[in-house]
């Protein structure tokens, strides 16, 4: 017997290495973590902002006979034009962030030669919706200018100067963080649940117990592998978003690293859900329904595809308790608005609180055998 000290770290890393190899060879892991989010990003990247609907106030005396109005008023414009009874009410709603912007469309002169000018009012309070609308409006205007009746003199007036003045908010800036967050949720919940369930069922875990590694070492080794895999996926998603679709990383590498840190935090919390599912599942086929109970509502309600503000007000409180909401929110703020991790500490704390709760539950329901 050699009396050298047994290293739990060596043993843990051996599990990590084996697990990573196994994940990379499992087609479903690669498809779920990379292909799915990328497909959504590509699809929504090309569709543009169509899926995002914003409320916009239209000034009373606006011209409604022009092409721009018709486009904005159309069914699938993603814009909901609201006519207000009074100017004050409209301005107040803008200041509260209830509407994303106010536009005023006027003919350039009385001759009605089809030329119009557009004035746009934005406010900090409306957050990203203002920028979404601004960029939509910009692209619609340039479309009209290049094809139909020219819209000249498009003027954008800011109600109050904002920190992100003049930066175009592209739909990829909304879609990518949502997809990233959701891919982490799916990978964390499904991946962890299936792996631990099957390792338990096939007695792989039991065989590990017969070696000197501690149980915590097995879990940590597995978790590190999933973390490495998910971070590699996140890197690929962010880089493809950046170089193929012009995803905004305001402070470059710093923003990139901050996003990865948020992603790691999110994944660790989501893996807790996976542990819970693997503990509750009676058999393999009960994993997907259980995992879907956790992932589907977040997929739909956590601002993955649509801004939460699109949901009816009775649904919003539910949206606002989901952990993915806060991960998505933090990712968007960091990536697009250039906020530091400290600026999103509220979101981080909420995610952490979920983490504490979920892991307490996971420890209670997790089964080793």
């Amino acid at each position: 017997m050699s009396e050298q000290e047994y290293s739990q770290i060596t043993a843990t890393l051996a599990i990590t290495k084996a697990s990573l190899k196994s994940i990379f060879r499992s087609p479903s892991a690669v498809v779920f973590s990379l292909a799915f989010p990328l497909i959504f990003i590509v699809v929504f990247g090309f569709i543009g902002g169509g899926s995002i609907s914003v409320d916009v106030g239209l000034t009373k005396n606006s011209d409604t006979t022009n092409m721009l109005y018709k486009i904005l008023d159309g069914e699938n414009s993603g814009v909901n034009l609201i006519a207000y009874k009074s100017e004050e009410l409209m301005n107040a709603d803008l200041k509260k962030g209830n509407i994303a912007a106010i536009i005023n469309i006027q003919p350039v002169d009385a001759t009605h030669d089809g030329k119009i000018k557009v004035a746009l009012q934005l406010c900090d309070a409306s957050g990203r919706n203002g920028k979404i609308f601004q960029s939509q409006l910009g692209s619609i205007v340039s479309n009209i200018n290049s094809t139909g009746t020219p819209v000249s003199d498009m003027k954008i007036q800011m109600a109050e100067p904002t920190t992100i003045q003049g930066r175009a908010y592209k739909s990829i800036d909304f879609i990518l963080p949502g997809q990233l967050g959701f891919s982490l949720l799916a990978s964390g919940v499904f991946g962890t649940a299936f792996v631990f369930f099957s390792l338990r069922q096939t007695l792989v875990l039991k065989r590990f117990f017969a070696t000197p590694i501690k149980r915590s070492g097995i879990v940590i080794g597995e978790a590190i592998a999933r973390l490495i895999f998910a971070m590699m996926g996140s890197v690929v998603i962010i880089l493809i978003g950046k170089f193929a679709f012009g995803f905004t990383l305001i402070h470059g590498v710093t923003t990139f690293l901050e996003m990865l840190l948020l992603c790691s935090l999110g994944l660790i919390v989501f893996m807790g859900f996976g542990f819970v599912v693997s503990g509750l599942a009676k058999n393999e086929s009960s994993i997907p329904p259980l995992a879907n109970i956790i992932t589907m509502p977040q997929f739909l309600l956590a601002g993955t595809f649509f801004s939460i503000s699109n949901f009816p007000s009775w649904l919003q409180p539910i949206c606002k308790i989901l952990p993915l909401t806060y991960l998505n929110d933090a990712l968007r703020k960091v990536a697009f608005e250039g906020q530091g991790l400290w600026d999103v500490h509220t979101q981080i704390l909420i995610i952490l609180a979920w983490g504490v709760g979920v892991y307490i539950l996971a420890i209670k329901v997790f089964k080793w055998e």
């Binding site: 017997m1 890393l13 051996a14 070696t211 000197p212």
Partner: protein, 255 residues
């Protein structure tokens, strides 16, 4: 064998699952360097007793010492000196045999030559194969290879030949004897009496959680004959298995 050193000592071992008493106070010693067989029908408590010795299961009462180490509070130390083969254990999905051995060498903190390990169980040609691609006999041989990585003092084999054809069984017996001859103590469970008779130096017979007989296979047979037992049918010099092996060859096949 009587002068041999005791390496496993089990005293008054009891295991209850709720009201059900799976093991009802068994005691036995295993000597260093022997192949010790725990025999008994399914559900007699063999696997439970084995798993308690392997530190995989908590006992209800009694004392179990593995090479002088107590299963109650020296589990980590015990795990370092034993090799464990589980009934129907799976291996990490998607990895080759070579990679699985690397995993186990990490788990045991041992540097091993994986190819040599595979060669020692006759699987050197399967280094790149996945576990699920192996035949039943190969799976058991591989499983035994993983028990040898930490150069253990004792290996525990739980029904290693169940489901194997006669050639593969004989082949596995040879392997187990080789391991014993290199100085490793082997504890094996089986419900095949021919296996116990061929392979084990000593056996303990478990029935309904109790040990009802313990000695060398020869001695147990002699005892029975001495009590006046006679087989109803005159035993021939060969049996059907001998016929089968003579017809199909003793050569062990992969599939």
């Amino acid at each position: 064998m009587n002068t041999a050193k005791t390496i496993i000592s089990v005293k008054d071992l009891v295991k209850k699952y709720g009201d059900f008493m799976a093991v009802k106070g068994i005691s036995f010693d295993v000597y260093e360097g022997e192949i010790f067989g725990l025999l008994g029908p399914n559900g007699a408590g063999k696997t439970t007793s084995l798993e308690i010795m392997e530190t995989l299961r908590e006992k209800t009462s009694g004392e179990v010492l593995i090479n002088g180490l107590n299963v109650d509070h020296q589990q980590q130390e015990i795990k370092k000196i034993i090799g464990v083969q589980l009934q129907a254990a799976g291996y990490y999905p998607g990895l080759s045999l070579m990679e699985l051995l690397q995993l186990f060498s990490g788990l045991y903190n041992r540097k091993v030559n994986e190819m040599e390990m595979l060669a020692s169980v006759g699987l050197q040609d399967k280094a790149k194969a996945k576990h699920k691609e192996l035949s039943g006999g190969q799976k058991q041989r591989f499983s035994i290879a993983t028990t040898l990585i930490n150069n253990p003092k004792i290996i525990f084999l739980d029904e290693p030949t169940t489901g194997l054809d006669p050639q593969a069984r004989r082949n596995l017996w040879d392997l187990i004897r080789e391991i014993r001859d290199k100085g490793t103590t082997v504890v094996i469970t089986t419900h095949y009496m021919d296996e116990a008779e061929n392979l084990c130096d000593r056996v303990g017979v478990i029935e309904s959680g109790k040990i009802i007989a313990m000695d060398t296979p020869d001695k147990l047979i002699d005892n029975l004959i001495a009590s006046g037992f006679e087989r109803k049918k005159e035993v021939k010099k060969a049996n059907l298995e001998d016929v089968f092996l003579a017809l199909t060859g003793k050569e062990w096949r992969d599939e």
